[in-house]
Symmetry: C2
Subunit: 123 residues, 2 copies
């Protein structure tokens, strides 16, 4: 994954409506949801919804399949997986930085096992 692709994915998700759409689709699974159902759930005007759906689809986070008069959108889980790995590539100098996700970014080197200084969070 290239940096610019990753930034596009993140920017696509970094909007209230699109993130809501994405999460609905994550929960809907492979089957997906039709545009109409999504719009109904989120109360978005058709044009606005379509704008966000095509934004998400153009970047590659979701894809649609036509079925009769409806278009069912689903998330591409593989893209998310790759995105997560990219974000934490060579992370945390080999330490376990992510309790919930476990070993995520380990795709590459994990070099630079340097002793780190204090890093408490100030005001």
């Amino acid at each position: 994954m290239e940096l610019l692709n990753a930034a596009e994915y993140l920017a696509a998700l970094g909007h209230e409506s699109r993130l809501s759409i994405f999460r609905l689709l994550v929960q809907a699974g492979e089957e997906g949801l039709s545009a109409g159902v999504i719009g109904e759930q989120l109360g978005l005007a058709p044009a606005t919804l379509s704008f966000h759906l095509s934004h998400l689809a153009r970047t590659g986070l979701i894809f649609g399949r036509q079925q009769s008069r409806f278009i069912f959108y689903s998330v591409d889980y593989a893209v998310i997986d790759t995105l997560f790995a990219f974000l934490l590539e060579d992370c945390c100098q080999g330490k376990a930085c992510l309790p919930k996700t476990g070993a995520v970014g380990g795709a590459k080197s994990r070099r630079r096992m340097v002793r780190a200084g204090a890093a408490g969070r100030p005001a």
Copy 2:
């Protein structure tokens, strides 16, 4: 994590320069990097760099600690961890959707074990 917070984190990461900064800091670990070093690595004008650093810090993805004349920025790994979990909350209807990250979103219910239809990716 609230939806709006998550959207802010993602929007913050959804910009070439900020994502570059974030990844530098991920790789730098707890010790972090000074603003100057970051700016040098990425070739950003001081004002631009500062704009992005405070954007990232304001949202909470990174934090700075002053040390002598320098300010060292580091990522807050816990926030990222929570963000990943939020993105995949109740994901994929119990299936293993994320090979690299393993069981990520499992914080909540994992209900709706519905049989899903085909979802091949069309043009």
